[in-house]
Symmetry: D2
Subunit: 387 residues, 4 copies
Amino acid sequence: MTDLSAISDALAAQAIELPSWAFGNSGTRFRVFGTPGTARDPYEKVSDAAQVHRFTGLAPTVALHIPWDEVDSYADLARHAEENGVRLGTVNSNTFQDDDYKFGSLTHSDPRIRRKAIDHHLRCVDVMDATGSRDLKIWLADGTNYPGQDSIRARQDRLAESLATIYARLGEDQRLVLEYKFFEPAFYHTDVPDWGTSYVQTAALGDRAMVCLDTGHHAPGTNIEFIVAQLLRLGKLGSFDFNSRFYADDDLIVGAADPFQLFRILFEVIQGGGYANPDVAFMLDQCHNLEAKIPGQIRSVLNVQEATAKALLVDLDALRAAQEAHDVLAANAVFMDAYNTDVRGALAAWREERGLPGDPMAAYLASGYQDTIEADRVGGTAASWGA
Amino acid sequence: MTDLSAISDALAAQAIELPSWAFGNSGTRFRVFGTPGTARDPYEKVSDAAQVHRFTGLAPTVALHIPWDEVDSYADLARHAEENGVRLGTVNSNTFQDDDYKFGSLTHSDPRIRRKAIDHHLRCVDVMDATGSRDLKIWLADGTNYPGQDSIRARQDRLAESLATIYARLGEDQRLVLEYKFFEPAFYHTDVPDWGTSYVQTAALGDRAMVCLDTGHHAPGTNIEFIVAQLLRLGKLGSFDFNSRFYADDDLIVGAADPFQLFRILFEVIQGGGYANPDVAFMLDQCHNLEAKIPGQIRSVLNVQEATAKALLVDLDALRAAQEAHDVLAANAVFMDAYNTDVRGALAAWREERGLPGDPMAAYLASGYQDTIEADRVGGTAASWGA
Amino acid sequence: MTDLSAISDALAAQAIELPSWAFGNSGTRFRVFGTPGTARDPYEKVSDAAQVHRFTGLAPTVALHIPWDEVDSYADLARHAEENGVRLGTVNSNTFQDDDYKFGSLTHSDPRIRRKAIDHHLRCVDVMDATGSRDLKIWLADGTNYPGQDSIRARQDRLAESLATIYARLGEDQRLVLEYKFFEPAFYHTDVPDWGTSYVQTAALGDRAMVCLDTGHHAPGTNIEFIVAQLLRLGKLGSFDFNSRFYADDDLIVGAADPFQLFRILFEVIQGGGYANPDVAFMLDQCHNLEAKIPGQIRSVLNVQEATAKALLVDLDALRAAQEAHDVLAANAVFMDAYNTDVRGALAAWREERGLPGDPMAAYLASGYQDTIEADRVGGTAASWGA
Amino acid sequence: MTDLSAISDALAAQAIELPSWAFGNSGTRFRVFGTPGTARDPYEKVSDAAQVHRFTGLAPTVALHIPWDEVDSYADLARHAEENGVRLGTVNSNTFQDDDYKFGSLTHSDPRIRRKAIDHHLRCVDVMDATGSRDLKIWLADGTNYPGQDSIRARQDRLAESLATIYARLGEDQRLVLEYKFFEPAFYHTDVPDWGTSYVQTAALGDRAMVCLDTGHHAPGTNIEFIVAQLLRLGKLGSFDFNSRFYADDDLIVGAADPFQLFRILFEVIQGGGYANPDVAFMLDQCHNLEAKIPGQIRSVLNVQEATAKALLVDLDALRAAQEAHDVLAANAVFMDAYNTDVRGALAAWREERGLPGDPMAAYLASGYQDTIEADRVGGTAASWGA
């Protein structure tokens, strides 16, 4: 069994934030299929997220999406979280489901609608104040579908102005993280399409504005670990939205489509000082369209943990020696040796040493929680994306 | 003004089928925005489609989508169409919006669900009998999201069996056209992902099974005109679903994203004998998420007409001479000369000669129809995709 | 250590053909860098290939490329191979490095050049007769760079005619395998761009014409294992050219870019009856531009062996049960369980039981062969691709 | 005929720099085909480039590539250029064809090789001093082929240091432009893969360091006009390398693959103040692998001119009004109206008014120059890329 002793402390430092919306229904433009037992309100979502943490010890916080997760009392929701052993985390804004935003939100040419979108973000900061959240995460659906539809340049300038207004509202311990995305839902141009744009927009704001890297938001063939290395070098990598994809923004379980890519990304995070670094938040952003949601999230955090363990196991001395010698095959072999290692048994033992179940998936399934929610949660509709 | 006399008859032979669903609301998984005046039932959709034909003379038929367009009496709907100057056309099946189809329809491992999906198609043929439609178009959302989820091979065999059952039900003058799509809504594998699969499946059925080519359903960089040439060579190009895309299956207005590609496709259609050939149906399949729907369809058929006119204008003698001489620049110049020609003025005159408005977009806007439907169509919900 | 007893015989049946050109220099359009000790003629290439087999037991045959590997006596070259413990295998034609083929070879509009290209293939069959090779592999660089440059359709028809002439020359135990490629060196259209085209062209020839699938020759995002499943279903998968890629036809070491994809491909090969099936040849087609060539090939065959072992280890009963139950997570978990298994130690033991070195890479490096060839092979130029 | 009077002065301000290497042979890794009459040395290349300017008035300068274009006396070469009616322009460095650069140049881990690469660039600045050139253009082939081969981060830091040393050598009126490229010749990671990297590296250097945008150096689907708008907004767009592509870095004639994209790019250049702006150099970077080189360049500059004329013709008042009203179809129609205009006749007349031939392609072919060089230039080998 692989010896994890040298990396045991590092593993213990891992924390992955769960998205509340992963516990709601989701789908494609063609159909949102329902899944029995799906959470219907923020309280149920938090309860479900707490199960993931209970069985893995990896997921101490839950991200909120406003307005999907609006509640009367955020203090009460925070208390509910704590009672379940977790905390509330990043607050995500949402400016893509109101008719006013059909042609843009923070980039809209109409000052009234821009103001409405800005005000939504200010309310999100109010929520953060109430929940004690540090990060305001902004992903914008803004863009156009047809050449000529709007001015790319004017929208970029309006975006800068809107972001500055929001940034000014942040508290000293709060941050703004700006997510970029290659395309969808806009099909001709997207206002924050790449890391470069997110970088220049956040660099213009100040030190508490950072870039959020969603692993599914790139053009085909993009070397994501390069972007990780570059953003860490620039001190601007604020957070990850982990998921995986075969084609576009498929939002599949992280590590499911290309586990070697996940390993490479985590290796670069570690090398660049981004691991167990509070400045770099690890989050999931996924859609469990077909599979069960709670075990889907458990599988996800375990995938990240396994890839992290492998990335921590790379023999750096041997790697550097081979790199210095320009021995391409030897360097690659050192790298692959860690990737090819089966860490699952050792991680099970490591978990058990910490009072966690060796097999979190089996433990969850045996817990009876799933049966309970499938029986209890009948009726009701969720405020979620397309759900 | 460009002389169209040599191609005037060919232009007059053009007919483009409109999709009823283009007149309903549509959107992305993030949001379906409403548009004032949108049709709410099959009768209103047919009325709207008829406007496109009234102002362009290009769109004499309307395709139906079952069950979105289910009505009590298809004979009555057909009469409504004729009263409005159009006819009912291709019947499209839909096996992607019922919970039973979460894991597949014609490919499902459960015989009960396969039978349900087959029966749905048999009912579609009943509709065709009632409407006098020739073509049953099958696009399947079937596929899987995760490696291992199901057997790729077993699903392909089940597909063949299901299609054979449906094919056996067709009348002598009816056809089955099978559409392929690269990805979405399935993210790991799709059961009919490419023209090769659609070809081998329809070749196994018989002569009345053909391939449907949707111009937005290919991998990045795919040379679509090559596929057109190949399918025409094989006698298996049954129909087009025209639209355009920058990234994935964006379903934008045909010709909007890459007008030169549309020209190349139409040139290959003409060279391969697929133009004004009843075996090769021209259809639109688009989503007007942001723009007005009736003028969006008018713009679409005009784009196809303009590209067709240009493709018909290519000087084939000069082209062949340059090709024979391997004069790459000269051959490309002959090709581009037609593409770079501005045919709009000549087409306006050509239309006016035939009693049509020279500027169909302006004529539609001046007609008052849009104002009327925006005033009249308040309330109601459409059975449409995500609408 | 993983128990390989159930799959031991299957592993023993594996044979991977090596490409002679992998032992020559290669590069990009920007530069072909030299590597010390590189083989300079077919005899040296065969000697090097034999080293791979000597240390792995996996590579009993060597493919030739004509005219790169032209020799005065193929009988003598075959004897040289046997003396080194290997045999000569597939004969690859080459119609891309003669000025006459600037505008095409088997598809050229000039009958004289088509005839020249056909005659080259007939000479390749002569070589096959002399070497006892079964397969003639045809990869064509034919295509065009600019729209209008030539007739896509006419070229396809000429291709069919040329292939038929070549096919007619084959002996009863010989086969023609036609490789497809998405793009490069042609940039607008390629005459055999996809599996569909290779399928319809070889289906028209007869049972001894098959498709060759090069794993690097697809559009971004293509699901290759689907194509494997489909071609096996159709009885037309004749051979693989294994390699890996991040972007285009990078020709990297197989399994280096996406080891999970290699596992999925091999799983589908096994499921479809293509493993240890003489009709489906496993070959490598790679370019070791930067890394040492012999150990590069050793790494490659080991990568295929490891992925094969994992694919053979999938618990099919558990997989089918989960698939039947539509338990997406469970099915995926069974699949990933095999992939995540570290088979390296067990394979080392398995090798040693068969008198092979447990660590073929280390054994090769310790053998002194590399030092010898680096010292001996000074001067001379290779007939190779760009070398 | 289209009225160009309002844009006549703007058209007269256009200048496009030609690459000397476009007049040499080029090809793919598979083959460099020769073309009769191809220039064999820098003097002949300059003479050929001068023909393009003579017949179009669009190409007053020629870019050099060092060491391909090394001569004994740059003053003499500059005089030769002036005698032929053109001037020498940008100096391009080349660190991809020396064995020392197999594993990198400015990013190499060995200080000796880094120094060698830096020194090469300093010598390029010496050439610039001699020729009076303003811009040093750096495109780096640096990167790795295999994960683990080298440290992505360390290479980025070394790149920054190397660039700083080169930048310090520049004169006050000289600039460094850094080109990015998605992939090739490196297949795993490239050290300057995207505009973001080029931006942050040049921003760190100072105001005289700018980004070079090659239109063929992006991932599939990238919206290039967005990058143009962003770089102009940031004041960092230093130059264009124009060409076109269907798949990768195909280096086809600009406007040949997607003329609408070229139009959109030029529209954004104009809107962002980058047109007829000395800070933004227009250059070609193409490979005429199959077609004749001088007429290939004439076609290229004419394509840019035609697209520029169309982009200048966009009715900005109408466009803004439609954009303000969020009338997507109207805004797109204004945009497309300019694109669909046939400006060729008006441009021919505009040229003739300025003493230039109306049809530069025909005039060149009639001039006899091509016959002369095909007869005269026999023998000799060019220092060019792969030539």
